[in-house]
């Protein structure tokens, strides 16, 4: 390849033909344009006339120039010019393409694959065998060298891994290659361990070219919970100038839909590689955050998964009245407070107040008797997932609680009195603890020798006692018992919470035990001991691009290994499920920083800034064609063949032809834009095109009629309705989709369903009309009803209920009791209201401030009742006589209400509160 400046020629010898150009010039110049033979009767009058000027029997200079340029363009074109040619090093022999393929390559993965493709092309041209090695997935055996063509189809299968490259394994693999090889190393730009050694190893075998994309790599570092929210650390590889980033906290909203829960625009200061930003979030929102991201970054380290560590539990502390005020160390709750201090929000107070606060854990220290109301509340709270932690004490020992029958709030029945060991009045020594059984949540904790129990309450040996014991004394007496209640549990320590009955509260073990128990509802800090003996099952794993995928059947990880684990092939980052806690393993550890790769001087760095290799052949051919086209017209003009109106038209046609030839892009966008404009210029009603022409026409006419009524009666003035093709059209522009169900309708594709679901989740409403309310009574399955089930099965539809009398739809514009269309009396189904909202005596409506229902399902054939032609004549009969007209009017009113409902949401429902609000404002 001959390279001249930025242009290279694949076949430079063709350029020799340029030497022939002067000859061509001379020949063309010597030959005048061929004469035109023309029959003309007036020739009799011409006889004897001579030309005044006899000079131009030669071609004028400018067509000559045009032709010469055109030929020159052709010659140059066939010499294979390439802009920004990749200059090969002209080497032969095996080539190793080494990809770091870590998360840091994910952001520009396509660029890297393109670079690999180019390298393959070049290797194919040079006939070199190639081996492609991913440093994150180094082969176990000898890397295979294949023809470049054989690698092509595999390129699409390569993906970046969500962890750092493993250079040691890669070196092992490379060591198995015999002989030398050249290397193209696509580095991810970060300084990973062993990179220098790797470079040395490679250079020992042959030339190494390193490809780097000069781009700063951003990552999310550790997160820290603060009282105001969460502090997020962001890191970048190179300390360049100030750089703005947006941190996003994502998680499910109360409805379970993934949303941005918080966003924060912040910036790296110039010269800094890390920043710490505080996202302010109330605890309720903070507890819902599942991941932090840097907006616009698409790789695994720009996503930080959160586990239970973000959640700060609330712990309610309840004790019986303290008789000895001021004696801190003897307080029942002192050691519990100390154990949880700084790890959880502690609240104390009356039991009824605490239950209202809905804490995660409730500690009852020597509280024996609960009032009936308190017990009921407590049971309900435990059923909902609360952990009730009870401690024994003199009061419990003295009371009759759980004596004859098992108390629902006690794990076991208790024997009267309890026992005292090793006291002045008893035989025996204080008992030590037996090490924990495997089934115990405390399994793995080491029992200190100095923990002794001198007094305790005793459990009745009931049949299910053994299953409920989670800690015993050395003699097998139950020390801690537990029973599940609903989704929560009740745990009883058979000793006091202070050091009166045992030394347990004084020991470190006590803290660990409480932590383990508290894990059931949340996690405070994690230590190796906490996870010892546990097995963590991967739930969902990050891929290199930062997307969560299902973990499938991956092997679980030993809990003990987990804390030290960094993201690697064996322990990929993701969410892991322990016995009682879910844990996240992230790409960057808390202390990890990013450092740019520094290559020793002399390393050949191949950037991507040089520009893409671009063949110029088509452009030059086009230029030659254009020149010849101009020459054609010019020749016609010169020789007098182009006369009259054709003369004016010819250049226009030539220009149009050239424009058509010219590389032409982006026309589909115009169509999309036109559709978007038509749909969003004003509100437009839309119906789903079912493929049944008659039905589609009817639906259209129906929406025309409804649009007309809306324009006449309300401030909603819709433009003509739009038929929506689910497969191709954007749905987001329409507040309401009318979907008449037809039996013959084809089921939409998976993509269409995905967009329909997105539409429903983002506030769209679909009105399904089975049009069969006349025959569908009493739950009989109609063909369209069955079809509707089929169509709606993949849709994300919440639980439905028949529309309640106080639904907002009954009063958004008109007050309505029923919703007839052409049929009357068919039921109307909407999203079920929350069951928690009870109707209040004296209030006509429940306080339902939920979302707009995503679907409204009925069978009353509204389109038929609404249908109008262009002049406003009704197209379909409804009912008989005045009653029929009334029914049609109500049908229109339903349409108006529905439109108001989807446009204004629960505005009318909120209106109920206006008097209260005005009152509060003091008016």
């Amino acid at each position: 390849m001959l390279v001249l400046g930025p242009i290279g020629f694949a076949a430079p010898w063709v350029l020799a033909a340029l030497l022939a150009l002067p000859i061509l010039w001379w020949v063309l110049r010597a030959v005048p344009p061929a004469p035109l033979r023309r029959r003309f009767p007036g020739v009799a009058l011409l006889l004897g006339l001579t030309d005044e000027e006899v000079e131009t029997d030669r071609t004028p200079w400018w067509p000559l120039l045009l032709r010469t340029l055109a030929i020159a363009a052709l010659i140059v074109a066939f010499a294979g010019p390439v802009l920004n040619p990749r200059t090969e090093r002209g080497a032969s022999g095996p080539l190793v393409i080494l990809l770091d393929a870590s998360w840091a390559s994910a952001q520009d993965w396509a660029l890297r694959m393109g670079r690999v493709g180019e390298a393959l092309d070049q290797a194919a041209a040079d006939d070199r065998p190639v081996s492609i090695i991913l440093a994150t997935d180094a082969p176990q055996d000898t890397p295979s060298f294949l023809a470049p063509r054989a690698w092509r189809p595999q390129l699409a299968g390569f993906a970046p891994a969500p962890f750092a490259p493993d250079y040691a394994a890669t070196e092992t693999a490379l060591a198995q290659i015999e002989g030398g090889f050249e290397t193209l190393w696509l580095s991810d730009g970060l300084d990973h361990d062993g990179r220098g050694d790797m470079l040395d190893t490679l250079e020992a075998r042959g030339a190494v070219a390193v490809f780097e994309n000069p781009r700063n790599i951003l990552a999310v570092g550790a997160t820290q919970v603060t009282p105001e929210g969460v502090e997020v650390t962001a890191r970048r590889a190179t300390a360049t100038g100030a750089q703005e980033i947006t941190l996003v906290a994502r998680g499910p909203d109360p409805a379970g839909i993934e949303r941005d829960l918080a966003r924060l625009d912040t910036a790296f200061e110039a010269g800094e590689t890390s920043l710490t930003a505080a996202l302010e979030m109330p605890p309720e929102i903070r507890n819902r955050v599942t991941r932090f991201e840097i907006d616009g970054q698409r790789h695994a380290a720009a996503t930080r998964l959160t586990d239970d560590s973000l959640k700060r539990r609330e712990i309610g502390l309840v004790t019986a009245r303290e008789s000895r005020e001021g004696l801190e160390l003897l307080s029942q709750l002192h050691y519990i407070r100390a154990a949880f201090e700084g790890k959880a929000d502690l609240i104390s107070g009356a039991l009824s107040d605490l239950i209202a606060a809905n804490p995660d854990v409730m500690v009852l220290a020597d509280v024996a008797q609960l009032s009936g109301g308190e017990a009921a509340d407590l049971i309900e709270w435990t059923n909902a997932g609360g952990v009730l932690l009870r401690f024994a004490g003199p009061r419990l020992a003295a009371s009759d609680v759980s004596r004859g029958d098992e108390d629902p709030m006690m794990p076991v029945r208790l024997r009267a009195g309890g026992r005292t060991i090793g006291g002045a009045m008893s035989w025996g020594e204080p008992k030590a603890l037996r090490s924990f059984a495997e089934t115990s949540p405390f399994y793995g904790l080491t029992v200190p020798d100095d923990v002794t129990v001198s007094a305790q309450v005793l459990a009745q040996p009931d049949p299910d006692l053994a299953a409920r014991v989670i800690a015993t004394l050395a003699d097998g007496t139950p020390l801690v018992t537990r029973k599940p209640v609903g989704t929560g549990q009740v745990v009883l320590f058979h000793v006091t919470a202070n050091a009166e009955w045992s030394t347990l509260p004084l020991s470190e073990l006590f803290v660990s035990m409480l932590d383990r128990l508290a894990l059931a509802s949340g996690r405070v800090t994690l230590e190796e001991a906490d996870l010892a003996g546990q097995v963590l099952q991967p739930l969902r794993l990050l891929d290199g691009f930062g997307a969560l995928t299902d973990a499938g059947n991956r092997a679980p990880i030993e809990g003990a290994d987990f804390l030290d684990a960094t993201a690697s092939r064996a322990t990929p980052p993701g969410l892991y499920q322990g016995t009682e806690v879910s844990l996240a393993l992230n790409v960057l550890g808390p202390q990890d920083t990013l450092a740019p790769a520094n290559w020793p001087s002399g390393t050949a760095i191949v950037g991507s800034t040089a520009g893409q290799e671009r063949p110029l052949l088509p452009h030059l051919l086009l230029a030659a064609l254009a020149l010849l086209a101009i020459d054609l017209i010019a020749s016609l003009v010169l020789s007098g063949r182009l006369t009259g109106p054709r003369a004016a038209a010819a250049p226009v046609i030539a220009l149009a032809a050239l424009v058509t030839l010219a590389p032409n892009q982006s026309r589909a966008q115009d169509i999309d834009a036109a559709f978007a404009l038509a749909a969003t210029d004003e509100v437009a009603l839309a119906h789903v095109l079912t493929g049944d022409t008659e039905l589609d026409d009817l639906a259209y006419s129906g929406l025309v009629g409804l649009s007309r009524i809306l324009t006449q009666r309300t401030s909603v003035e819709p433009v003509p309705p739009i038929g929506v093709d689910l497969e191709t059209d954007e749905l987001g522009f329409f507040p309401l989709l009318y979907w008449p169900v037809s039996v013959d309708q084809p089921t939409p594709s998976a993509e269409a369903y995905a967009r329909l679901n997105a539409y429903l989740r983002t506030g769209g409403t679909i009105l399904f009309d089975t049009r069969d309310a006349d025959i569908a009574a009493f739950g009989s399955a109609t063909p369209t009803g069955t079809k509707l089930q089929q169509l709606a099965a993949p849709l994300d539809i919440p639980p439905l209920e028949e529309i309640p009398a106080d639904h907002v739809l009954t009063r958004t514009f008109y007050l309505l009791q029923d919703f007839p269309g052409r049929h009357t009396g068919g039921p109307l189904w909407v999203e079920a209201a929350s069951t928690e909202v009870q109707s209040v005596e004296g209030m006509p409506f429940r306080n339902l401030n939920d979302n707009v229902t995503p679907v409204v399902i009925g069978g009353n054939d509204w389109a038929s009742a609404w249908a109008m032609d262009r002049r406003g004549n009704y197209l379909r009969p409804v009912g008989r006589g005045f009653n029929g007209e009334r029914q049609r009017e109500i049908a229109y009113r339903f349409g108006v209400n529905l439109m108001m409902y989807v446009l204004t949401g629960n505005y009318k429902s909120d209106q109920v509160h206006v008097p209260a609000l005005l009152d509060r404002l003091g008016q």
């Binding site: 005048p32 004469p35 003309f40 009058l45 011409l46 007098g640």
Partner: protein
């Protein structure tokens, strides 16, 4: 089958060629009739009493009138006797010479009719008109005496559809009847001497007439450029130029001179001259022709 096919084929071929041959005549005749009808307004009497079919006037019977001339129905309504006189309808002979040479086949644009077609159409329509007016018409190229009637029309149509020989037509006034009328239709681009001779012959016999020149628009505009070899339609004349555009002015000068000469020729002989272009309306040309032929009487 074979014998059937063989017997059918010559028959069919004969018929096909016959139809092709006959095709222009009815079309030309029909078109000419159609064109002529636009000008037929009524009888073409001589505005004086004489022999004819049309009623002219009643006059009082005078001595010498035959009794059978008296119109008794009119006379019965009054005391006097009336004679019914009819309009004099004298027949005139009109000779048509239509240039059928190769030059007349020229057309500069496919949307325009060739000059010969326009000439034939005008000649035919004029014949129809004149025959309706009671005149006798003859086509010079046929050599037949002037006659009237549909058979003569058919003959004229046949004669018009023939393409003459030579690049340019030479008028032939040899067979023209004395005191008749003559109509010369041509582009008159050929040698003008033959025309002068013909007109001289006519003038000697007391024949009055019309010179009607038909030209293509291209012949008036000369819209040619560049290196061109001009040939006559028959290929007999050739003129080569390197820059046709330069010749335009001089060509137009010569054309104007030719027209002037034709007009002068006509004036001297008491004839009338007009120039018609094939892109103009045939009807106005026919109107002019008819009035010129009628008016010269």
């Amino acid at each position: 089958m074979t014998s059937d096919a063989a017997s059918i084929r010559p028959h069919a071929a004969l018929r096909a060629s016959g139809e092709a041959l006959a095709a222009p005549w009815p079309a030309l005749q029909a078109e000419a009739e159609h064109l002529a009808r636009t000008l037929l307004i009524g009888g073409h009497g001589r505005r004086q009493s004489g022999r004819g079919d049309e009623f002219w006037q009643y006059r009082n019977a005078q001595a010498g009138d035959a009794a059978r001339d008296i119109d008794w129905r009119r006379s019965g309504r009054s005391d006097a006797h009336f004679v019914r006189e009819k309009e004099w309808q004298a027949a005139q002979s009109v000779h048509l010479w239509v240039d059928g040479s190769a030059a007349m086949q020229f057309t500069s644009d496919k949307d325009l009719t060739p000059k010969s077609v326009r000439a034939g159409l005008l000649a035919m329509a004029l014949s129809v008109l004149l025959m309706k007016g009671g005149e006798r018409v003859a086509l010079a190229s046929l050599g037949t005496p002037p006659r009237t009637g549909s058979l003569q029309l058919t003959r004229i149509a046949e004669g018009l559809s023939k393409v003459g020989e030579g690049d340019y037509g030479l008028p032939d006034a040899g067979g023209f009847l004395p005191q008749s009328r003559a109509v010369f239709i041509s582009d008159f681009l050929g040698p003008v001497e033959a025309l002068e001779e013909a007109i001289a012959t006519c003038a000697a016999r007391g024949i009055k007439g019309v010179l009607f020149q038909i030209l293509d628009p291209a012949e008036e505009a000369f819209p040619y450029q560049g290196r061109t070899i001009f040939t006559s339609m028959g290929g007999g004349l050739v003129h080569e130029t390197l820059r046709a555009g330069d010749l335009r002015d001089r060509y137009l000068d010569r054309l104007a001179t030719r027209k002037e000469r034709l007009a002068h020729l006509a004036r001297e002989a008491g004839w009338r001259y007009d120039c018609h272009h094939t892109d103009a309306s045939a009807q106005s040309a026919l109107l002019w022709l008819y009035q010129a032929v009628e008016g010269t009487g």
